[in-house]
């Protein structure tokens, strides 16, 4: 895929990071002379290369950014990757630690079948080649929350390779200008999570919680096929939906079940790739996009000013909105990889190669897992578009909110109203209401049946659309909206009904 270009129109000038507050988008100005009017930030610029008629002024050259991602997804499994300890995000500290997790001498890893299945399913969903034989390695570094002094991972021969992930980004201001892009999936590897260090600066102590130590992770390595924060965020979002559809990870970024490291470099098109930096531990889609865009601009600025980019590890300071170099363990070091001698090669089979008489508990059949794959988000969206004549961006919106698609489908089942009308009501009125109230779909006071009934009334023209909206307004907790409804009823009954009785009836109806 062609690498979109970032253009730098103001050589010699340093970016000024004004308005460092959290809300401002990078606090960075749009380059002067840019024709990207109306674009909110650099990421959009990257999407649509600015091919301007005017030639770059002397000394002015184009920049291209290259972004690759390493994504760690915690596997949704009852027990850890190599031990029988339970996995539970909310358990009291150090309550889920086996002898192996604490690295007691003499303990050995025993591979969790469920984690292998999760890796294979994820690999299949991302069109990967599943390696019939994969290997485990030790990656060494000293850190207090890594009790063994090494992490077991799959460095040499991972379980899945050479896949792809299609995601969509909008290229214009409007959702309707969405394009599908593809990023290569270099590999998926199984590895252990580390424990957690809690630094108590007051007492200058570090507390260690090993509950997370040894939890299975899928490391998904995305090729450097992306060129800006928005693309990276969209790719991660799509991966998140896929993992959730598969049930292989809950992939909740806020809970640390999905963590992203980004590799970023810039270069002049046609020239070799630049030195890359790694921005670690990005734990929300918004910060991911921000951090990447910031880092791209930082590198450009650095180079424009005759500086050098160091091959270093950085972290994103979400308060300052900028990336800063990391010191301690994350710095450059030699991990002294070595084969894990306590785990034999992981062998997988397909229906053709399954050894006869093999214990089904001891072998994994890739074809069997393929059959069990659920519908993937992309297919679900295509179906929605086909079945209901929905706009693609609406199908995206329906899948983006946990439980919203199910809500939509339940409404559709129970109403005679047009799918388009249902879509519009669910995405605009209903979702708008939820957002306003800061509620999840599961917490909604409006049931699918209630909305279906309302849409039926609307469909039969029994009520007007404004009345229907007012019904939802009352539901939203706006008591004054009822007065409008009383008015409507009085008009409908030609003023013969008693307002007090109407109010009582309406209240009874609306609270049901």
């Amino acid at each position: 895929m062609a690498t979109p270009m970032l253009r730098w129109c103001c050589p010699g000038r340093r970016w000024i990071f004004a308005g460092i507050g959290g809300g401002s988008r990078h606090g960075r100005g749009v380059p002067t002379g840019s024709t990207s009017s109306g674009k909110k930030g650099q990421s959009s610029v990257a999407q649509q290369p600015l091919i301007t008629a005017q030639k770059p002024r002397k000394g002015e050259r184009e920049w291209a950014a290259v972004v690759g991602l390493e994504i760690h997804a915690q596997i949704a499994s009852n027990s850890k990757l190599f031990s029988g300890s339970q996995v539970d995000f909310a358990a009291p500290p150090n309550s889920l630690v086996s002898f192996f997790d604490a690295s007691l001498p003499g303990t050995l890893p025993v591979l969790n079948r469920r984690c292998v299945e999760a890796a294979v399913m994820t690999g299949l969903a991302l069109d990967c080649h599943i390696n019939r034989k994969s290997l485990f390695d030790r990656k060494h570094y000293f850190y207090a929350d890594l009790p063994a002094g090494y992490q077991i991972t799959q460095q040499r021969l991972p379980i899945a390779v050479n896949g792809s992930l299609a995601y969509s980004v909008c290229v214009g201001k409007r959702w309707s200008q969405m394009v599908t892009r593809t990023v290569g999936v270099k590999q998926i590897q199984l590895e252990q999570d580390s424990g957690k260090s809690l630094h108590d600066n007051l007492r200058s102590q570090t507390l260690i919680d090993l509950n997370r130590a040894g939890v299975g992770l899928l490391e998904v390595v995305l090729e450097p096929d992306m060129s800006c924060g928005e693309e990276a965020a969209a790719a991660v979002r799509e991966l998140q939906l896929i993992l959730q559809a598969l049930g292989t990870s809950q992939a909740n970024m806020a809970e640390g079940q999905l963590r992203v490291d980004a590799n970023i470099s810039v270069h002049h098109p046609g020239e070799p790739l630049g030195v890359r930096t790694e921005v670690k531990n990005l734990n929300s889609a918004r910060f991911l996009a921000k951090a990447i865009d910031y880092e791209i601009q930082r590198q450009i600025s650095e180079l424009e000013n005759g500086g050098k980019i160091l091959n270093e590890t950085r972290s994103f300071d979400y308060k300052l909105g900028c990336t800063v170099p990391m010191r301690d363990k994350e710095g450059k070091q030699d991990y002294r990889f070595m084969p894990e001698p306590n785990l034999p090669p992981l062998l997988l089979y397909d229906s053709g190669s399954l050894p006869t008489g093999a214990d089904p508990q001891q072998v994994i059949d890739i074809d069997q897992l393929r059959e069990r794959l659920p519908e993937l988000p992309r297919v679900t969206r295509e179906k929605l578009v086909r079945q209901y004549g929905m706009l693609p961006e609406h199908s995206f919106a329906l899948l983006n909110e946990v439980g919203l698609l199910e809500f939509f489908q339940n409404v559709i089942k129970e109403t005679r109203a047009e799918p388009k009308k249902v879509t519009s009501w669910v995405l605009n009125t209903f979702l708008g209401f939820l957002k306003q109230q800061n509620l999840a779909v599961s917490e909604s006071p409006v049931t699918p049946s209630a909305l279906a009934e309302l849409l039926d009334l609307l469909d039969r023209k029994a009520i007007s659309s404004s009345a229907a909206k007012q019904v939802t307004d009352v539901k939203k907790g706006n008591p004054r909206a009822i007065n409008k409804l009383i008015g409507l009823v009085r008009r409908a009954t030609l003023g013969r009904a008693d307002p007090t009785v109407i109010k009582e009836v309406l209240e009874r109806q609306l609270s049901s």
Binding site: F99, A102, S103, L104, P105, G106, T107, L108, P109, V110, L111, R138, H140, F142, A144, P147, A148, G149, Y150, T206, I208, D334, R336, F337, M338, P341, N342, L343, P344, Q362
Partner: protein
């Protein structure tokens, strides 16, 4: 009674000739008497007596758990034992009490065995003398045997006998000495490059290194995971077979154990060796080999041949690379395995609290001896990105060639290989420590360590006494997972050579009560 083999004493227990408690007390008393051998790091007297009491109850009810019920055993101090300190003879693990039993320990206990204690070793099993642990060296019981003493008296007069004691070999020297000095009937060792077979040869006992994957390593504090195997030390081949039958088999906690079930077995008494093909690897005839061992080796080959076996010279061409290859692979895994000893979760922690890194450094400096630290340093060097291909990967390739040498030989029709176990008999400690640990290990593992690279079963069987009246053992190497066939051949050999029993009565002259009223069928202590 103590001089008997496991099989014999097991029969005596079943027949009620002796009770488990009685047996246990006799062993405990002998352990105390032989304390100066330094064979045990921890004597688990209370545990053993309690186990004996329970065993006794079972015997009274006629509910014996089997051949091992009531039998005193010892375990090398690098196997985890629940509730009993497990030190690896290192400051790092001094005071460490594991919360779980190694699978092999659990299997012994499940059979009713009495755990007498934890035996001495080189720190983290790194050594070939049992001289380099924090609890001091193990002394070879043969230093105090009537046979050796009398010979020395003839030779030299006035030499200080006590300062001239012999090493046991290692690193499972404590286990070998414990079995050799009759303080238990079987002991667990570990074998990474010869650590069970080497001290077995020096102490005149049988030392079995089973096939890799046949016996669980879960709970064995690792030296080199890809080569470590729990070893078995006994006074005869049959005893080793009994213990192997109990320990062998799949362990869900060790993914490198074989899946196929293993049944306990009894070794047949081979009468005809004419169908056997014995291979003599020519590369094992090294200049360093002592003439005595060399002549016993050829005597053994002749013995097989004269009984009708086919004895042929074979070649294991990559043998000479084995030491250096082992050095790279061993130190690399050591560097990795030792990374967990950081003072945080268990074991030694220094007083420094400047920073976590300073704490790591001081803890590891104080916790490990020079040998361990040297190996960690070399291993980390070999694993560096820039060195990995040139050292580790190359060593792995050489390892494969070494393993293939054996496969080729066995494919050519050879059933069992016959080799020396050690270059010579046990040497005095004063002589042994003239060389450093690394040189010693490299020399002493020469005949044993290729076997670990290939994962094959091997057993050292004592053959005869040297002119110094010290034991010399020979090694049999079998096909992978043909441990039973290997032991069958070893048993035939053992019967033919009639290795003399160690005479320790001078050592125990004031504990004659232990041995009184005994009709010793196979063993004479007088």
């Amino acid at each position: 009674m103590l001089g008997r083999t496991l099989r014999e004493v097991s029969a005596a227990l079943k027949q009620g000739q002796v009770s488990p408690t009685e047996l246990c007390q006799r062993c405990l008393s002998l352990i105390k008497k032989t304390k100066f051998l330094n064979a045990y790091i921890t004597v688990s007297e209370e545990v053993a007596l309690k186990q004996a009491e329970e065993s006794e109850k079972r015997y009274k009810k006629g509910l014996s758990l089997g051949d091992l019920d009531g039998i005193p055993v010892a375990v090398k101090d690098n196997f985890s034992t629940a509730g009993i300190e497990t030190t690896c003879a290192s400051n790092m693990l001094k005071g460490y009490v594991p919360p779980y039993n190694a699978t092999v320990v659990q299997k012994l206990l499940d059979q009713g065995a009495l755990l007498m204690g934890k035996t001495n070793l080189d720190e983290f099993a790194m050594g070939s003398g049992s001289t380099d642990g924090i609890f001091g060296p193990v002394k070879n019981p043969w230093s105090y045997s009537k046979q050796y003493r009398e010979k020395r008296k003839q030779k030299s007069h006035g030499e200080n006998e006590d300062s001239d004691w012999l090493i046991t070999g290692g690193s499972s020297g404590g286990s070998a000495a414990a079995v050799s000095a009759f303080t238990c009937f079987a002991a667990l060792g570990s074998d990474t490059g010869g650590s069970t077979r080497n001290p077995a040869a020096h102490c005149g006992v049988v030392g079995l290194k089973p096939s890799y994957g046949l016996v669980s390593r879960h709970g064995l504090i690792p030296l080199v995971n890809s080569m470590d195997v729990p070893g078995i030390l006994t006074r005869c081949v049959d005893d080793a077979a009994i213990v192997l039958g109990i320990l062998a088999g799949h362990d869900p906690k060790d993914s490198t154990t074989i899946q196929d079930p293993v049944k306990p077995f009894t070794l047949p008494s081979l009468t005809d060796v004419s169908k056997l093909c014995i291979g003599i690897p020519k590369e094992y005839l090294t200049p360093e080999l002592s003439s005595e061992v060399r002549s016993l080796w050829s005597k053994a080959a002749n013995l097989f041949e004269s009984e009708g076996a086919k004895v042929i010279e074979v070649s294991l061409p990559h043998t000479s690379y084995s030491i250096v290859c082992y050095h790279v692979l061993c130190t690399s895994e050591v560097a990795s395995n030792m990374a967990r000893f950081d003072g945080l979760e268990y074991g030694h922690r220094c007083d420094t609290d400047v920073s976590t890194e300073a704490m790591y450094a001081a803890t590891r400096r104080e916790g490990f001896n020079d040998v361990v630290r040297e190996r960690i340093l070399s291993g980390n060097f070999f694993l560096l990105k820039e060195n990995y291909e040139n050292y580790f990967v190359k060593a792995q390739k050489v390892r494969r060639l070494i393993a293939r040498d054996f496969v080729n030989v066995f494919n050519s029709g050879v059933d069992v290989l016959l080799t020396p176990t050690t270059l010579s008999e046990a040497v005095p400690h004063t002589e042994f420590i003239r060389e450093d640990n690394r040189t010693r290990s490299a020399q002493d593992d020469i005949f044993t360590q290729a076997v670990n690279m290939a994962g094959l079963p091997a057993v050292s069987v004592p053959m005869a006494l040297s002119s110094q009246r010290l034991p010399i053992g020979l090694q049999f190497i079998g096909r992978a997972f043909c441990d039973q066939q290997l032991l069958t051949v070893a048993k035939w050999f053992e019967k033919r050579v009639q290795f003399p029993v160690i005479q320790l009565q001078e050592l125990m002259d004031d504990c004659s009560s232990i041995f009184e009223n005994e009709k010793l069928a196979s063993v004479s202590l007088k």
